[in-house]
Symmetry: D3
Subunit: 291 residues, 6 copies
Amino acid sequence: MSALLLPIVAHAQLFSLTKDQMVAWTADNPFERFDDGRPKVPDGLIERARGLSSEEIFAILPGKGFRNQYEDGFQVLHPDKKLVGRAFTLQFMPMRPDLDGVINAKAKAAGLDRMYNQVAIDMLRPGDVLVVDLFGKTDGGTIVGDNLFYYVMKATKGAGLVVDGSIRDLDGISQMNMPAYFRHAHPSAISNVMITGINVPVRIGNATVMPGDLVVGDSEGVYFIPPALVQQVVDNSDVIHIHDEWTRMKFDEGKYKSSEIYGSPKDPALKKEYEDYLKKRLDEIRKKYSK
Amino acid sequence: MSALLLPIVAHAQLFSLTKDQMVAWTADNPFERFDDGRPKVPDGLIERARGLSSEEIFAILPGKGFRNQYEDGFQVLHPDKKLVGRAFTLQFMPMRPDLDGVINAKAKAAGLDRMYNQVAIDMLRPGDVLVVDLFGKTDGGTIVGDNLFYYVMKATKGAGLVVDGSIRDLDGISQMNMPAYFRHAHPSAISNVMITGINVPVRIGNATVMPGDLVVGDSEGVYFIPPALVQQVVDNSDVIHIHDEWTRMKFDEGKYKSSEIYGSPKDPALKKEYEDYLKKRLDEIRKKYSK
Amino acid sequence: MSALLLPIVAHAQLFSLTKDQMVAWTADNPFERFDDGRPKVPDGLIERARGLSSEEIFAILPGKGFRNQYEDGFQVLHPDKKLVGRAFTLQFMPMRPDLDGVINAKAKAAGLDRMYNQVAIDMLRPGDVLVVDLFGKTDGGTIVGDNLFYYVMKATKGAGLVVDGSIRDLDGISQMNMPAYFRHAHPSAISNVMITGINVPVRIGNATVMPGDLVVGDSEGVYFIPPALVQQVVDNSDVIHIHDEWTRMKFDEGKYKSSEIYGSPKDPALKKEYEDYLKKRLDEIRKKYSK
Amino acid sequence: MSALLLPIVAHAQLFSLTKDQMVAWTADNPFERFDDGRPKVPDGLIERARGLSSEEIFAILPGKGFRNQYEDGFQVLHPDKKLVGRAFTLQFMPMRPDLDGVINAKAKAAGLDRMYNQVAIDMLRPGDVLVVDLFGKTDGGTIVGDNLFYYVMKATKGAGLVVDGSIRDLDGISQMNMPAYFRHAHPSAISNVMITGINVPVRIGNATVMPGDLVVGDSEGVYFIPPALVQQVVDNSDVIHIHDEWTRMKFDEGKYKSSEIYGSPKDPALKKEYEDYLKKRLDEIRKKYSK
Amino acid sequence: MSALLLPIVAHAQLFSLTKDQMVAWTADNPFERFDDGRPKVPDGLIERARGLSSEEIFAILPGKGFRNQYEDGFQVLHPDKKLVGRAFTLQFMPMRPDLDGVINAKAKAAGLDRMYNQVAIDMLRPGDVLVVDLFGKTDGGTIVGDNLFYYVMKATKGAGLVVDGSIRDLDGISQMNMPAYFRHAHPSAISNVMITGINVPVRIGNATVMPGDLVVGDSEGVYFIPPALVQQVVDNSDVIHIHDEWTRMKFDEGKYKSSEIYGSPKDPALKKEYEDYLKKRLDEIRKKYSK
Amino acid sequence: MSALLLPIVAHAQLFSLTKDQMVAWTADNPFERFDDGRPKVPDGLIERARGLSSEEIFAILPGKGFRNQYEDGFQVLHPDKKLVGRAFTLQFMPMRPDLDGVINAKAKAAGLDRMYNQVAIDMLRPGDVLVVDLFGKTDGGTIVGDNLFYYVMKATKGAGLVVDGSIRDLDGISQMNMPAYFRHAHPSAISNVMITGINVPVRIGNATVMPGDLVVGDSEGVYFIPPALVQQVVDNSDVIHIHDEWTRMKFDEGKYKSSEIYGSPKDPALKKEYEDYLKKRLDEIRKKYSK
């Protein structure tokens, strides 16, 4: 059987993908890519995604079979500041010296001192959200303190950080204007771990994250949207926003029970009224985008 | 920087390692290897390892910098039956259809129907312990029911199973004579997950496991011992066993306080007595091995 | 024995009480009632109850044998906005199709499409607090999103929501000015549950709630006060407020140890001073009420 | 709206159902009923159900839309003794004196001293499993100690007990030969609770239980099977048992990979072999039943 | 105020009490004392206490105001072997080098090498149960491994161990015939803690334990009984045992509902029958004791 | 052995230390002391400590062997208000009437009514932080409500409160301007506990606290610094602050990767630049202190 498997055993769980591998593993991506093959959701869609809520993403993803793209249970640094950006993923595992020795030898051969968190941080680009699997670790699981958080903010233009692990120096970080999602804050420095993957698939709680996913965080939690579904999600959210507008206008009139208006109007005349409203507002919105 | 990294980005977190990669990532292995490069701790050492307790492994590993090789919190199927064998690792992640599609396309190209748990189970050999990262999943995280458990028992000659996840049909499995460590039992079949690695490094709770590690489980928990340290661990355990024998003989005499005898005898004459006893018994034991 | 029980087996745990039943099960209610028999704590007492803290309610209820009327562990939407209103209760249970079929057949016979959360929401009145037993459910346990939250706010005149379960669209809901207590926020819609009671006794954590109870929530948790004790609670809270005023005035003088003043003044002259102060201030307050 | 609801508001969550109500709420029941209307799964099916595992029940129920009939996380008194019987349900809520006063007044009117756990226990019949919602309560949540456990064992002919709450005197109870599932053991007597329902629908964790459900417990957890599905579950389990037999016979031959045999044989000849075996064995088993 | 306190500030939370202090702090003790002042519950009562269950102790203690003498949540080594003996208490706190330095300097002045767990273990006497506050610590919170467990068993004549912390080498300890209650098993040696009290009051979870308390453990948990209440508890347990005997004899007759017999017989004739039976059996039992 | 121990058994875990004992147990203190022997970290250092973060304390303490001086998991009343002051410690244990009787007899002999929380609160001085071991208790574990919180604020000049337990009247307390760290808020009054130590060593979670420790709390958690290390911590924090300044200045230049600048500059010229900057800024800061 292992012979049969040979064509597919081209790689393993350490460090990153070649460009070809990245392209193969993200074949559904409809957008351009970065030099390393990572999907590049366009800036225009990222801007539109700032208006998304978790509910609006939920309206599309599970129906398409993507039931494991949401994670919550984080401490949210700035709950009133939406997190939006492209996933740059980083995977840690508990340190074992034999494996760490091999990793660092390879790093040295590549011209690096050693493999550690700043190697990955130095690779961040504007619009990237750093997504880190530190397996929920508290003591020693602190991906950044205030200085590196500051650097990440500068390098990503404030896009953000999601860590299934910890940050240190919460007081200092709270002063900075970048969204961040983390499990704990702890005074310790990062320790007793090793990097085993940069821009590989990572697991953040119950979500599987691919490099290049669109990351959207609100005060509830974080969604990781495959690039192939981004357009549909943001288009559909326009409809939801208009539906919300119309529903509340009707509720404000005070003449209807909730079930007469919501989820959809029962009365045919009301239904027609809603559909006309929807069409008109969608036209307005799309005109705005096309400018 | 990504250019500099190129020499080390030969692989990624999906499926298994080539033989060369396996050899490179387990370079410290002092023993023979299987055809796929996985270290093969000799059968003789495996037999001697049946006498190990977690404490005896702890006596060596942290001192060598291996502080993340132990995990507990499992339900233990047969607490009075020691688990010993070579790690065969398996990694799952939460299902996402885009990635799963690529994986199955590659599996099909390799002559398989699709990639699922039985593909890995069919690769097991005598003496293998199946070590599975199902990230603690309960519902749908059931690596085997009683039928596949039976097959694993046959294929591994009863070596065993460790799953950071679940099994199903506990009543049926309890009738079978193979050690197993699992988080939960649940009636559901495995679902909503995909295989992302066979014989790659995996994380089981706070332990990092490499394919070929010697897996030793007792009623407390499970240790994953790097092959390079197996000889030292089992040799040292002989000394510990003899020390236990002697300590209790002395305690049985009823003449000493515990602190006069243990950790080591305070009185020089007693110390000499112990050292003579240790030498004599070690000789006896080692003679036994050499037969 | 079942024959003996017949006189008392007039009803069961599904849907709501008849008016007669409601009156019988809330026989201690000293106030008027709604058309359906639900006790109606007067608006004036509701206004006075806005000044209550959990401690002031605790000062009365356990002493009267009501030790299970408080629940905490909620996420509190607006911790600085007191929740006060009359309990409108709603009970869900995990969906089972056979029972749900019977429930919906009865709903249809009553002229409804089916039995679901909006049926109850459409029954809310000004001053009602919607109290929902969703047994702590997260995924699928979301009683309202932002649209229905908006409707509840309009219908109850902003009285509030307590759910042993979840809400969805936290970002949207946070913009709205109604107190809410919930266990989690989740992007999913309500699912896999069925309504089994409207305005029946419900359990919220360790509290038993009757329709018509006065619900009072502060930043600690939520109290459910039987109508028969409301007057005593608010009257006693006046005394506590005055005691607080006087105690802090004395502490501000800086001449006394805490134990000389609090719980009650040790010195007879001080005791007299306090009692005079209490009488004077009570008179003032009560004059204010009588206007 | 409340007018529309009137036809369906015939009952509420206190005490038990009339016979007519019981029949209406369990309309799908295909079997005879007890005098009080509770479905009576036949003794023959109960006997056959002793061979069921949770997995075999799972094979049918979720596919029929019954996804909330299983609960685990219990301490299991005799894990090697299957629990099988008809659900007799009992619901408690946290004590509140006003409601308890009404309940006891009604009990007194029915010729009882007061309403307490023994009133229900005295109603148990052979084959009943006492299923109790004590909302996970530990201190004061002890449905029985060793004396009443002994009585329940006598009255139900050893059928069993499931309590989402506690028992007391675990040492004494362990000596008795009746299956029991409970959350905790605690030395306290039952207190600070009141009975609010006998043979009404109850929630046990995430499962909804109806009086008359077939209760089946193994070492994993407890399933509550609606009477209408019992026949199908036990019939299908015969097929599963035969499939298990055949699968292991094939595995014992040592010629096949697991995927060639299980879930179903890939090779057409093997498939035919299995189908013949299934038919022959099913005939044998059914002959046995018909005797 | 500190001047006023001077007469009572004679001691503090480090090391042990003088004999006078021990006598003062356990003034209610009705029995003899050890040389160090620790109460010595007589051997005869210890023997009778072997028949106690937690429920029988609960029948007396809370009614006397002792509501914090029970703790559970332990792993129980031999659940079928009752734990009974006199509390020898030991308190640890997290290590801090400044305090540890002072402690060890004092230990050295007293002729000891240093202060560590074996200093206390060497002081154990037959019938002592070692009760250890290690604040629930797992890693490094292991009071004994198999060698010291063996010594404790010898020194106490198998009385037992209760540790709010861990043990190591569970496999080895399981072979030994002494009851033990612990939170976890872990392979680590004790570390990162310091001894701060020997035979001082300690807290084990929610229980306050005094040196000399009678410790009774069953499969549910552990009770710490003040010496002054031991006689009453064991005397009352005789009554409970007889009541159990009689109750089950009556249940065996199959003529009564549970409520007619238990808690106490309703029928005056039955009540008389019970009282006669109680008197007769009590006489028999007490005759046995007096021999 | 107990004879040998006599010189060190001068005290025990109840009430407080004599001045001599306090001096002995805090022998490393380099500063003046209060009348009762408690170390008095100077006001000037307390002021400088207001600038400390947990990370800056972590930079010194573990390296000196103090690994158990930090605790988190608190609710923080005013996360943006640093907590700084001298530890005044208070220890409670679960109530047992025999011990409580002795304690209150001694209290009465000392001229007090009885021993309770206000006895300790009345002893607080300006700059004290009240540090309370209430073993995480919620119901009945409320060290203060709003009135006593107000008194503590007045008496300590707003220094603060840390309680491994609860407070009551969170709404009232939130209005007051003193930092507080607590586990829960609950409406109950303190009950079912007894004071067993004032200004003795206490355990707060995993930290050991001595009276006179410098307590520093930020939004992450609380550090308890031994007086002997305070000077070094605050001096070193000056260096860290300057390092932060310089690092961010460099990051702002946008010319460097994070690894070129941080943890320390790689380039010798940059290193020199940093060292010059550090020297200059340290001089400025120290000049400021010396004024």
